[in-house]
Symmetry: C2
Subunit: 267 residues, 2 copies
């Protein structure tokens, strides 16, 4: 059992709490049984740290991890407290390699008849929102998520937690240049739909068929000038006195309406 935060492997892992260290090493931390499990199954994990207590409760996962040749070290609760970002650590943390992909992997022409949809975050700042949109993209059956430069880091602990494992299920592009990403998606046959509370087209009347990319903008400033690059701006019909929806809620409504229309025999 490692009891010192000066242990070399522990110290290197602790540094990954900082974005600059993550970028330099192209590695990040994943916390909690579910996240670690999904990361292990995605083949992204290099090392797992676990408390003795958690070790007993996560036997199956740890057996699966070591069977794949990945190192597991037991650490004291004090060391775990340094590795974890939460106040009540779950007792298990993994060091994982970056899993993001390039635009090439996403902006490719789909097979004839396929109707993939992707979401794109443009300068979204809140880690909870980014993670929740990723989770909704996954659950709705989205093909990928593109995250622009000047957005929150998808490898931020809060984003990963909010994504509930979806970071390892859905291809994610990060640090994309917004105009370039839009051009490349359009070039691959995607129609570009900008979500906007004042959008020209009501969601009920919007054409969501075919390959579609949904653009979601900054929580306060929206999409700004990028909106002009969209093929259509779409608004969610609202009935009450609320001026707008939370970004993650708006994304869920749009993505699941898109999924609904793709289902045969829909209501």
């Amino acid at each position: 059992v490692i009891t010192s935060v000066h242990n070399e492997r522990v110290a290197r892992a602790v540094r990954l709490g900082r974005r600059s260290a993550r970028e330099a090493e192209r590695r990040f931390l994943v916390e909690g049984e579910r996240g670690v499990r999904d990361a292990v199954r995605a083949g992204a994990v290099e090392q797992v740290f676990v408390t003795p207590e958690r070790s007993r409760r996560s036997e199956a996962l740890l057996a699966e991890t070591t069977a794949g040749g990945t190192r597991v070290d037991e650490v004291s609760p004090e060391v775990m407290a340094r590795l974890a970002s939460t106040v009540t650590p779950s007792g298990i943390v993994a060091v994982a390699r970056f899993v993001d992909v390039g635009m090439d992997a996403v902006a490719r022409r789909p097979p004839a008849g396929a109707q993939p949809f992707v979401s794109m975050l443009v300068r979204v700042r809140d880690p909870g929102n980014a993670g929740a949109v990723l989770r909704s993209t996954d659950a709705a059956g989205g093909a990928a998520m593109v995250v622009s430069e000047e957005s929150v880091d998808v490898y931020n602990a809060k984003t990963i937690r909010a994504s509930a494992g979806s970071l390892f299920h859905v291809p994610v592009v990060r640090e994309a240049l917004p105009e370039d990403a839009v051009d490349r998606l359009r070039g691959a046959g995607f129609r570009i739909l900008a979500a906007d509370v004042d959008g020209r087209r009501d969601l009920d009347a919007a054409d969501l068929s075919g390959p579609v990319a949904f653009l979601f903008g900054n929580e306060a400033r929206g999409l700004g000038s990028l909106e002009a690059a969209a093929d259509e701006t779409v608004r969610i019909p609202m009935a009450g006195a609320a001026e707008s929806l939370n970004l993650a809620a708006a994304a869920a409504v749009l993505l699941f309406e898109c999924a609904r229309r793709r289902r045969p025999g829909r209501a």
Copy 2:
């Protein structure tokens, strides 16, 4: 300009940061231009504190506030820092009276042909989730929100912020006994639909017509035994590898699907 946190009105307001003080006084704090404006228009505000800088930028709102006979005090940035819950205070905070209503106001038989829908949170713990569901309920055109005992306090600063003013637009019942609230809603003609990732009925096939109450359970434990009291359990069709949706995202999908089906000429 008040510069001391020992000023009597300031000290009383600061205490409202604690739930026990809020319950004792039946008053709470609202921060930010939008929240304060909605609270003033709802007739709920007793007192406003504002920094000199903010005072210049919020002239119209402050004129409206004082015209209604409500006291406005200028306070120093240091005093504002104590009144505000955020790291970067917006410079305006109001003391408001509780706005929640009793079950009588919600569990009443709607007029013939009316199809109101309400949301009900059962032991929901996350303030951001509670506020986001309230905002979505408002935006979807929901008639009310019921919050059970053992849920997060709707007068928590984070909940109010996440509700983006909807606390003042939608009637909210708090501290409801779950079984009793379900009985009373059913007695008033509402069908009780429990949101559950493993629900028996697919959303596409679920009957959302007529007066409907949507039950949303605890983030980790769901609805528990209360689910048996529902007329139907409804699941959102999911396509990807995600095991579930974020509570606020799931609520947005259900509430907006309900609103969509109530619109004439829907897609």
